[in-house]
């Protein structure tokens, strides 16, 4: 399923570089031990001036909720509708959530609350890998 190709900015580049290595990373504030995803310019919990770092996480999560896209505005996704859009909470820090189309799970048959693990999928037209999540059976 061809997604749009991510074109990272400077802030997000470390995330996508790590994804190319099949690593899932999140930003981390060493001053107050808070994780951030998506990345921010500065920690909005402690407002520390120290630059935010990145740390690898395990890539296990649970499905918070989902819906089914049936009329997307994104041209690249149109042929593959209907498709799931799920929100995944990270087990290591459930306040962080990721988006997923849940490859392997038919549209509308999503087990809300179910466990998932990350995988890295190629995207047509790029050498980037996109973090996705699949249901652990």
């Amino acid at each position: 399923m061809p997604k749009q190709i991510p074109v990272p900015n400077e802030l997000g580049k470390p995330f996508w570089d790590a994804a190319k290595q099949k690593k899932l990373v999140v930003q981390h504030c060493a001053a107050c031990n808070t994780n951030h995803y998506p990345p921010k310019q500065r920690c909005d919990k402690c407002n520390s001036a120290a630059p935010l770092g990145w740390k690898e996480v395990k890539g296990r999560g649970h499905i918070m909720e989902y819906f089914v896209i049936r009329d997307t505005r994104i041209r690249r996704l149109m042929p593959d509708q209907p498709l799931n859009l799920a929100v995944i909470t990270l087990d290591e820090d459930p306040g962080l959530n990721f988006l997923s189309n849940l490859p392997g799970t038919p549209a509308g048959q999503v087990p809300v609350g179910g466990a998932v693990e990350v995988l890295f999928e190629p995207v047509e037209g790029s050498d980037l890998l996109i973090p996705e999540w699949q249901v652990i059976k």
Binding site: M64, R70, D71, T72, L96
Partner: protein
């Protein structure tokens, strides 16, 4: 002269009573004709032309002349969803996006020929916050008689399928969202929260059908509205349940309809308003929410907290309580988030988890719980302004068939969705 004023915001707790409480009023309002989309050739139907009509009607409503206006405010957030370019532009004054996909205060000032409008501000946010900024601007003395207008536009083609959506790329920060098909908080994040809500409280999405029907009913009693003029028929629950899915379970009848329409309002001081044609509608407070999601998607818990705090700020600044609010017009651009405001403000005692059941009761304007008497966007087209114009008409006793039958002294209106909203408290009396 364009000025930028960031001190107008009331976006945190602990700010106390609004210093200009009861000292600012709305003295007039007017709406343009309304169309589904601009056809690209009728220059009497551009949003620029519509802005001029709305301004003239607002001035007439207030009994004012153009020379009475010393300030003009607007927002460039017209939600057209695309630029006119790269299509070729036209002869002046339609030789840029101005007048076609936006209508700046400078454009209106020049093309209508205001002589005394020295305060020009095209930087206001969307209308929910713009109305707040207008009130603060007059309260702070930056303008005495402020023309504040809000254009919303729609052009040919399917909505927002141009630009980045037509490309193969998700650039910058959208790489963390559009990559998986995410398109906007009001539709998609709000839907996730709605599903969390239904799961937590044991409700079903299609319970929104009752609200859709009531909004349409009220919209059909709004003479300037889209459905009154272009699709003058009521919908049924079967229509609602059979309406196609956009993002299942969100149905097309949960969504507002992009239209071309402009509403204009005259803000002035309480003393000046008393000399004008209409009974003043006073402003008691305004607030803007400050919620920020921790991660990619806001959650139900975050939304509920934001709405509780927004309401708390409104009571603090106005000196009023939930039981004082008679008319309540919270944003309904997608029906899936309206309940957050209803429950956050606890209008008519509706608490968290109770909204969907409330919708199944009597919401009619003639009844005891005339919720969204305006019909909102859902009932009048995506103008966002009906929330405010209905509030004004109700308090003046000029809402016609929509006039509520319960006490009608205080109105609360605002938009957009939680996390991006501004609300205004209107009153028949200054204190």
């Amino acid at each position: 002269m364009t000025t930028r004023n960031t001190s107008w915001q009331r976006n945190r707790l602990g700010m106390g009573v609004w210093p200009h409480r009861g000292k600012v009023a709305i003295a007039g309002w007017g709406n343009s004709p309304i169309q589904r989309r601009w056809d690209g050739k009728s220059f009497d139907q551009t949003i620029g032309a519509y802005a001029m009509i709305a301004a003239q009607r607002a001035l007439w409503d207030a009994g004012l002349k153009m020379d009475d206006v010393d300030g003009i405010m607007t927002s460039l957030d017209t939600r057209v969803g695309d630029t006119w370019a790269p299509r070729p532009f036209f002869a002046a004054p339609y030789d840029t996006e101005d007048g076609i996909t936006q209508v700046s205060a400078e454009w209106l000032n020049k093309n209508m020929g205001f002589k005394n409008a020295k305060f020009l501000d095209s930087t206001a946010p969307q209308i929910g916050q713009m109305m707040c900024k207008a009130a603060q601007t007059v309260g702070d003395g930056l303008a005495k008689t402020l023309l504040c207008y809000y254009p919303m536009g729609n052009i040919e083609g399917r909505y927002e399928q141009g630009g980045q959506n037509a490309t193969d790329f998700a650039r910058g920060n959208s790489a963390f969202t559009s990559t998986w098909g995410y398109q906007g908080g009001a539709q998609m994040n709000a839907l996730i929260i709605h599903e969390q809500y239904c799961r937590k409280y044991g409700k079903h999405h299609d319970m929104l059908g009752a609200l859709a029907l009531n909004n349409r009913r009220n919209g059909l009693m709004t003479p300037w509205g889209f459905y009154y003029n272009h699709e003058p028929y009521q919908i049924t629950l079967n229509d609602y349940r059979n309406s196609r899915f956009v993002s299942e379970p969100l149905r097309v009848l949960d969504c507002d309809r992009p239209v071309c329409s402009v509403a204009a309002f005259i803000f002035t001081t309480d003393e000046r308003a008393k000399t004008m044609r209409q009974k003043p509608v006073y402003i008691l407070n305004h607030v803007q929410d400050w919620g920020r999601a921790r991660s990619t998607m806001a959650t139900l818990e975050e939304n509920q907290l934001w709405c509780r705090e927004l309401a708390q700020a409104m009571w603090e600044g106005s000196g009023l309580h939930p039981s004082d609010v008679d008319v309540f017009n919270p944003y309904d651009g997608y029906l899936t988030f309206t309940q957050q405001f209803l429950e956050g403000f606890q209008w008519h005692g509706v608490k968290e988890g109770e909204a969907m059941d409330f919708y199944q009761g009597d919401l009619r304007v003639e009844g005891p719980h005339p919720f969204l008497s305006s019909g909102g966007n859902n009932g009048t087209g995506r103008t966002r302004s009906a929330l405010h114009s209905d509030s004004i008409e109700q308090l003046r006793g000029q809402a016609g068939k929509r006039q509520i039958q319960i006490r009608c002294e205080v109105a609360l209106a605002g938009s957009n969705n939680p996390g991006a909203s501004g609300f205004m408290m209107y009153s028949k009396y200054p204190n």
